[in-house]
Amino acid sequence: MKDKILSLSCGVIFGVGLVISGMTNPEKVIGFLSITNDWDASLIFVMGGAILVTCPIFLLLKYQVTSLLDARITLTEIKHIDRRLVLGSALFGVGWGLVGLCPGPAISSIAFFEPITFIFLVSMIAGILFNKYIAN
């Protein structure tokens, strides 16, 4: 039960952060990717602000083996850069540049009631399932 309340709460906090940061607006993300024309550097401040909080805390919790709710912490320590990481990130970058939505803002965009974002969400889930299909 605690796990569910915390998941919901963290989602709400994350969503509030996203909307305040301006990243729920696809045009603003496109503005960040548009370095040759009216560049909007705001996204750097979003990532910077988040990392400012997460970096010291992750360092403090580096040797933590169980979470507060007694879940085992298993973080992957894969170090090598493989073809899937490079190709996947490149494909994601292209999709991100085409519309200006990444997964978080794409889900938060439901709050704006724009019908076109539902088509984006369905396509995104199709992409997720397609990856599962080709990975098997």
């Binding site: 569910k4 994350f14 496109i30 401040f45 990392i51 997460t54 879940a71 540049g97 984006f120």
Partner: protein, 141 residues
């Protein structure tokens, strides 16, 4: 840079960071949104918790709109081809590459993961190239 909002973006980023830290410290899981979404679709383990996190992503902005006069700016392309292709590539790419802006860009970088730093550079670079090409065709402004 007339749209530049360093202050509100920094505040928003700090709030996102707080969510990531709270989620990790309590549940032991990393708040990578593409992973949470994929798991809520394809994995039975923690399915309901993952779904609740996603629900929170919608409730958060909705609450914010209740207390703010403006209902937020939302400008998106109206091209169905871009939407469908973009959505598909974001879904496929983030899962093939094991992360998105939150998973690699925030969680990974703050853990000094070489893979995440590399992934973040690649997706930002390809995003920049894509926007540049579309602008040459007059598609993005």
């Amino acid at each position: 840079m007339y749209n530049f909002t360093p202050f509100t973006s920094l505040i928003g980023g700090i709030i996102i960071g707080f969510s990531v830290v709270l989620y990790f410290y309590t549940t032991g899981r990393l708040a990578g949104i593409s992973g949470i979404l994929a798991n809520s679709v394809t994995n039975k383990l923690n399915r309901f918790s993952n779904f609740l996190f996603l629900l929170g992503l919608v409730i958060g902005p909705s609450i914010y709109f209740l207390f703010n006069e403006s209902s937020g700016t939302f400008e998106i392309t109206n091209s169905l081809i871009l939407i469908i292709l973009g959505g598909f590539l974001v879904g496929l790419g983030t899962r093939m590459g094991s992360g998105c802006t939150s998973g690699h860009g925030i969680c990974g970088i703050s853990r000094f993961s070489i893979r995440s730093i590399f992934a973040t550079i690649i997706f930002i670079l390809f995003g920049i190239i894509t926007v540049f090409i579309l602008q040459q065709f007059g598609i993005h402004l």
